[in-house]
């Protein structure tokens, strides 16, 4: 019985945190945001050198073959640094989909490319979770037509993974005929999202996903877990910043952290956030160790982190007073990243409903 990180996991955390602190300080984030770039290429390259794109990919395919807990720790670190790099889609969701439903040939081809960090694959599955407007993709004769909204990491992608209306998964080359990307701008400038339009575009189905929704669902689970972990990291940074500010900032001849109102805001953030860490760890650990529990735990992690993340984002901003509202400290990058994570791949109310279904509680 040891519910804590291993030495190796802590080392992974530390090396990532160290790398991000030096390669991806707030100034680097600002540059991407101000230029409306889709990502920070240099940071992504550095992460590739650390093996991050292949975190989940077996060594046979050039990856480092780690587990979901490690993948979640990476996501947490990226959220903590509001790092503008592709990860959730290309490094987690796509490898999960390929491993669950890809042919041997597909695995060999794509996993190897992804692990190297040189090929980036975006994911568009929103329509299978909650279709807005009239988006949706239909497959016929190996070609796809229609549109997918909120395709994650879409601007910088070379390839797309998307689901058709039956839930079958397809790989589509970024330069395939009939494919168009429309950039969607969100509050969070550290992530890229597009609308993908396809018109008789050739695609390659993942055979294991035909007439079997499980690969799609596993892919979504993996994505949700990463977003929950990202919020955990982002919220932790916001809490840390609030505590530091409360110690330093003085009003009425006292550090504001000595006022009960401010102190209790910090304490409430800590009390809400700290158990979330264990929830994310457990959910991540369960994916392979207790697969029968995993989907429920991931639903809870995603929905609960959305709520706690929102609370921390707001409260930390309030502790900072007017300073939290300006761009000076850049606090809003974390605020908005948490806001993004809340809605993408399902908002909390919809996911709680799913948590009930997963347990068989809905008649």
């Amino acid at each position: 019985m040891e519910f804590m990180l291993s030495e190796e996991q802590r080392m992974l955390q530390e090396s990532l945190t160290r790398f991000l602190a030096s390669a991806c300080p707030l100034d680097r984030v600002r540059k991407v945001a101000d230029a409306e770039e889709s990502m920070a290429e240099d940071v992504h390259r550095g992460l590739a050198e650390l093996g991050i794109p292949g975190i989940l990919i077996p060594e046979d395919f050039g990856g480092v073959g780690m587990g979901f807990l490690e993948a979640a720790l990476v996501s947490e670190a990226l959220g903590g640094a509001v790092a503008p790099v592709p990860y959730t889609a290309t490094s987690v969701m796509v490898p999960v989909a390929l491993m669950a439903a890809g042919s041997d040939h597909q695995k060999q081809e794509w996993l190897t490319k992804i692990a190297s960090g040189k090929t980036r694959v975006a994911v568009g599955v929103t329509e299978q979770l909650g279709r807005r407007e009239s988006a949706g993709i239909n497959a016929s004769n190996g070609r796809l037509s229609g549109s997918a909204m909120f395709v994650l990491e879409g601007m910088e992608a070379d390839v797309f993974l998307t689901a058709d209306s039956t839930g079958a998964l397809h790989m589509v080359a970024g330069d395939a005929e009939g494919l168009e990307r429309t950039k969607l701008k969100t509050i969070d400038r550290t992530r890229s999202v597009i609308e993908l339009s396809l018109d008789q575009t050739p695609a390659e189905v993942l055979p294991g996903s035909v007439s079997n929704r499980e690969p799609l669902l596993c892919t979504i689970d993996a994505g949700r877990l990463m977003l929950a972990a990202d919020t955990l990291g982002a919220a932790q940074t916001m809490l840390d910043q609030a505590v530091a500010y409360a110690k330093e900032r003085r009003q009425f001849n006292r550090p504001i952290g000595s006022f009960q109102a401010v102190k209790h805001m910090c304490a409430e953030m800590a009390a809400e956030l700290e158990p979330c860490r264990s929830l994310v760890w457990y959910a991540a650990h369960s994916v392979r160790s207790m697969p029968e529990e995993a989907r429920l735990m991931i639903c809870h992690a995603k929905a609960h982190l959305s709520e706690v993340g929102q609370f921390v984002a707001r409260t930390s901003t309030e502790v900072h007073g007017g300073m939290g509202f300006t761009d000076l400290l850049g606090l809003h990058y974390w605020f908005k990243r948490i806001g993004f994570n809340r809605q993408v791949l399902g908002g909390p109310e919809l996911i709680r409903e799913e948590a009930a279904r997963v347990q068989g509680l809905v008649s």
């Binding site: 929103t126 909204m149 969607l184 701008k185 901003t317 509202f325 300006t326 993408v344």
Partner: protein, 394 residues
């Protein structure tokens, strides 16, 4: 309890309505007040007694008796017709000048301000002095006939476009902190003044920092006496705070959400038909109604010139919170569509909900954080003892 209006006030409402029907086309739109068209419109309103109602005629106002209900009717009818309402100049500085300005100051400043030709910004907050405003450090010493100002202000909204600043500076460094402050009027663009915009989380720059380096202003440009600035300023703070948390605004926004929930779908299902969203909307609606009726109660007390007590003290805290929650619900029901911003394709309502979500948080923080509001409610409305203060750093 009588929610009907008197015959006189109903007649007034009719009069306003017919004025609006006839003159609506002259209104220059609802944007930021600027340019001749806006000033002409303001002038027309003053002539009809629909703007600057209680400002004396000698200073450019309509010179009418105060009538809170008429003001309320004006606000309602202009809002309903979506026509730019008139103003009384600037509700932070004009009342101060009327009460405490010299005759010369009144003549120079009130008329152009009331006519919309002169605009003001407020130089109160400083980087080190937020909720503890009286600890401000911007200094002014007398040199010949001038005050010479050095220091920095922050959160100065409108500093880029204003003509004048009313400003608090420390002129008596040896006096106790509340008694060492003076209230000065400074033309923007005076040498030694530098304005730097502060970008905020929404992406806009409503606020600025203003730096003073040996900036000179004649000693006559003071309101009240030296060392009395804190007391002069307090009259104006009261006016500023009144504006936040307007319950009718929250009610209007809530109706926009109902429309959204009736029209948007997820998986082809109306958002209104998702029970957990609907439950949140109904809980919010109850709170918004309660604050709307609370506003009617405050108004009724104001009309009778009675102190509304607690019902008034809670308006800002609850009003800003409800606005924030309204925006939060709108974003949540829209899901992924709710995070679109900056004119993105598929954006709803020009992204106003995200903008409001952040602006409302700014308002919860600004003009007295929620924590300060709770202190005020606790101490002034409930009579709880004050937190002991410390004269020396701890």
């Amino acid at each position: 309890m009588d929610l009907a209006y008197s015959v006189e006030h109903e007649a007034y409402r009719d009069e306003v309505r017919s004025f609006l029907a006839k003159n609506k086309n002259k209104s220059p739109g609802l944007g930021f007040r600027d340019g001749t068209a806006a000033n002409d419109w303001q002038q027309l309103l003053i002539e009809h007694g629909y703007a600057a109602r209680t400002i004396p005629k000698e200073y450019g106002g309509a010179g009418l008796e105060a009538d809170i209900l008429k003001s309320h009717i004006l606000a309602e009818e202009f809002a309903h017709a979506k026509v730019r309402p008139g103003h009384s100049g600037d509700n932070r500085i004009v009342p101060v000048l009327l009460e405490l300005g010299t005759e010369e100051q009144k003549e120079r400043f009130i008329r152009p301000t009331v006519r919309g030709e002169m605009s003001w910004c407020q130089g109160y907050s400083e980087p080190g002095s937020g909720s503890d405003l009286a600890s401000l450090q911007t200094k002014a010493h007398v040199d010949g006939d001038d005050f010479v100002i050095n220091g920095q202000k922050i959160w100065t909204s409108g500093a880029k476009t204003a003509h004048m600043m009313f400003c608090l500076v420390r002129t008596e460094p040896d006096a106790p902190k509340h008694q060492g402050i003076s209230y000065l009027l400074i033309p923007m663009g005076t040498p030694g003044m530098e304005v730097r915009p502060l970008r905020q989380m929404t992406g806009d720059s409503q606020f600025n920092e203003v730096f003073f380096t040996d900036c000179r202003v004649p000693t006559t440009e003071i309101v009240g006496n030296r060392g009395e600035g804190w007391y002069v300023a307090n009259a104006t703070l009261k006016h500023e705070r009144g504006g936040l948390g307007d319950p009718n605004q929250a009610a209007g926004r809530f109706n926009d959400i109902l429309d959204l929930m009736k029209n948007e779908t997820v998986d082809g299902r109306r958002l209104m038909d998702i029970p957990s969203y609907r439950d949140r909307a109904m809980a919010l609606q109850a709170r918004i109604f309660a604050m709307k009726f609370n506003g009617m109660r405050v108004l009724s007390h104001n009309i009778k010139n009675e102190e509304p007590g607690l019902s008034r003290w809670i308006v800002k805290l609850q009003g800003c919170e409800l606005n924030h929650q309204t925006a939060s619900l709108a974003i949540d029901v829209m899901g992924e569509l709710g995070i679109l911003y900056d004119g993105s394709p598929h954006i709803r309502d020009q992204g106003m909900w995200q903008h409001r979500y952040m602006m409302d948080l700014g308002l919860i923080i600004g003009g007295g954080t929620a924590q300060i509001q709770k202190n005020i409610i606790g101490e002034r409305a409930l009579g709880l003892p004050k937190e002991p203060k410390f004269d020396k750093p701890i």
